[in-house]
Amino acid sequence: MARKDLLDIASLQREEIELLLDQSTAFKKLLTSSGKKVPVLEGKSVLMLFYEPSTRTHSSFEVAAKRLSAEVTNFNVAHSSITKGESVRETVETLQAMRTDYLIVRHSRSGLPGLIARQTKAAVINAGDGAHEHPTQALLDAFTIKEKFSDPRGKKVLIIGDVLHSRVARSTSTLLQKLGVEVAFLGPGSLVPKYGPATICRFTNYQQAMAWAPDVVYLLRVQMERQDVQFFPSLREYHRIYGITNTRLEEIRQRGLYIMHPGPVNRGVELCDAVMDYERSLINNQAENGIAVRMAVLDWLTPGGDLPKPEPAYATRYGAASTLVMT
């Protein structure tokens, strides 16, 4: 099945994920062996529409697109009409007129890339929307884990931190579960909601979480900018209770666990300085793998086709649900 957009992990089939990860392996080999461009997207245009600041994801996508020989344009949101009150819809109509083939979107509003995708023929890739999803991050995380465990089924990944505000936690946990990986969350009670997925263990105590015997410890970035209100008393207290301190790093080393982090790290909050030199830290692998994974995604999607309906019809989506509710 040809897909136009990559908006979330939730709607991906396991087979599609496997295919993307296999393709990523191929692209990584290509990158490490020659480092040259491949003409996969020659003559195609990629437009980067980032409404939120980003260095890693933005440059990773840009490099990936350029390696595929695409023409990359940055839509500079800071200087655009968006700050003059133009709605996203009007912006998209303008972009549509430019006949962009691929649109890579980051926005603070959950669901916005999906809204754009329904209005354009371009293939839309969600590069992070609010606290909703960040699918390419999840793919590169899974790819990185698969490099270490060729069969990740039954392996355990402990995700530590601000689950409530984290699109990475949502996407990565969903994807890992689809691959048969067990996932648990650890963090302050105010940031690991009880109403999260029932299939994910929820810990608020570090020792108990370690007793669960994870294979990988995945640290989420404490998103200071997204906490409009206080969810824990201080960064110092957070580090003491949930951070990877020198003592905890020693325990992690003895157990031989891997450490991951989507970056950028807050030293002294999620982790201590020594983690950056830890031999089983996969943080740099994640950054490196991002390019191959994003090349695979760009190669996989199929722009064009008829414009889909602006809103999916109630009946097709909920016909079954609505009768279920009432009878």
């Binding site: 709605s87 509003r109 959950s110 949502r170 909601p193 109630y314 509710v325």
Partner: protein, 425 residues
């Protein structure tokens, strides 16, 4: 003269429909019986199989005038009401300017007289410009007929302000309608806190944000000896809070429930569908079930739509940016039939009592009933016909409803108000 033959008559007092003919002369129901003689010059309508019931009354609508006529006007809003079998409405005061003074009330009511074919009533603000700070000048509004005071759209934040307003205005025979939410807990987004808010990655509004104010405002009414009407209850514990206070019997409390809170859950939001975004938000199936039980039990005195039109552009934005609210007047009666009466969850007596009689009693108005000597204020409903809610069919200026382009069972065929036939299909 109008003779409706072989109709089935609904009333608030009995689930049994009474078969018969109804003769209306000069806007008054003159005769009810079987095989009535056809008076000379009378128009005869064969209403076999169709149900004749008192016309509905909606005690919670947003007609957006003055100030937001791009969303709705009194003309389009009242036509949507007629389209749905509703012959009287109470407007909410969150307009611009807010309906917080005799001057604005009089403008609205004058305009309604010219633009609406049905009576339009308005509530007035508790506080000036609904800001929750200074009391609005209440007496001038009362002299123009306002009885309901509300800062709907928002809770009157400061309980001391509301308590004083209750102590003051109760002496004038006015009552209070409360939109319930703790703003600090609810946050700016209308989405239930739970599985869906986690999945969609949007901060949710927990049910307790609503329940706390339901309880607070009833307590304030208890302290002030006031009558408080709790608007659009959406949660199980909210319903149970009201039930508990009613069982005490020492405070005058009434409450309403909106059709959408009985029919839909937050799951229906699916992929950020803004036609399921309203405040208070859709919650869970357990809440739906409890609200339905509360309606059947009588915890809820009335059904009201919270008809809240917004332009297609506003609702086409992302879920967080799109404004709260859905329209309801065009669709309410048919949807109540489709989801509840037809599957046998409740009877027409409940619909008539809760969506026609009780809202009129709340407003101190005479109740419409199909009885000899009563003013004809009634509608004819065909349970076997279907209604497809296309943009063309709906009369509201906005079509922000989950029922857009949906086909539901039931149709409003005829709406009569006195000597006038307001609608005939």
């Amino acid at each position: 003269m109008l003779l409706l033959q072989n109709t089935r008559i609904a009333s608030e007092n009995s689930p049994v429909l009474v078969e018969g003919d109804v003769l209306i002369v000069e806007g008054i129901i003159q005769q009810i019986g079987n095989n009535l003689a056809i008076p000379e010059g009378a128009r005869v309508i064969d209403a076999r199989g169709r149900i004749l019931m008192p016309a509905m009354f909606d005690a919670h609508v947003h007609f957006r005038a003055p100030g937001f006529e791009n969303k709705e006007t009194i003309t389009t809003g009242s036509e949507a009401a007629i389209n749905g079998g509703v012959t009287g409405v109470v407007m909410m005061p969150n307009t611009r300017p807010a309906i917080d003074s005799a001057a604005v009330v009089s403008t609205v009511l004058e305009s309604a007289k010219r633009k609406s074919r049905i009576p339009v009533y308005t509530s007035g603000c508790v506080t000036k410009d609904r800001e929750g700070k200074e009391l609005a000048e209440i007496d001038g509004m009362r002299l123009l007929g306002v009885t309901m005071l509300t800062d709907d759209g928002d809770t009157t934040g400061d309980p001391a302000v509301l308590l004083r307003a209750m102590q003051y205005a109760t002496e004038f025979g006015m009552f209070f309608a409360s939109h319930c939410e703790v703003p600090e807990l609810a946050g700016p987004r209308a989405l239930n806190e739970g599985v869906m808010s986690y999945r969609l990655g949007i901060k949710g509004s927990p049910a307790c944000a609503e329940e706390i104010i339901i309880d607070r405002d009833i307590r304030l009414a208890h302290a002030a000896g006031a009558h408080v009407h709790i608007q659009h209850v959406s949660s199980k514990l909210g319903m149970e809070t009201i039930r508990w206070w009613k069982s005490r019997g020492d405070v005058k409390v009434t409450a309403e429930v909106a059709p959408h809170h009985l029919m839909f859950t937050d799951e229906h939001i699916g992929d950020y569908d803004t036609n399921y975004k309203m405040n208070p938000p859709l919650r869970t199936q357990a809440d739906c079930d409890a609200l339905l039980a509360g309606l059947i039990e009588g915890v809820f005195d009335l059904i009201a739509t919270d008809h809240a039109p917004h332009t297609p552009f506003e609702k086409s934005q992302d879920f967080i940016s799109a404004p709260n609210g859905i329209t309801g007047l065009d669709t309410a009666l048919v949807s109540l039939h489709h989801y509840f009466v037809r599957p046998g969850k409740f009877g027409w007596d409940l619909v008539v009592k809760r969506y026609s009689a009780e809202p009129r009693r709340l407003m101190g108005l005479p109740v419409a009933a199909i009885e000899v000597g009563q003013k004809a204020e009634c509608l004819l409903f065909d349970t076997e016909a279907e209604t497809t809610f296309t943009r063309e069919f709906m009369k509201s200026k906005s079509q922000n409803t989950p029922f857009l382009d949906q086909t539901l069972q039931g149709r409003v065929d005829l709406v009569i108000l006195g000597t006038e036939i307001l609608l005939e299909r």
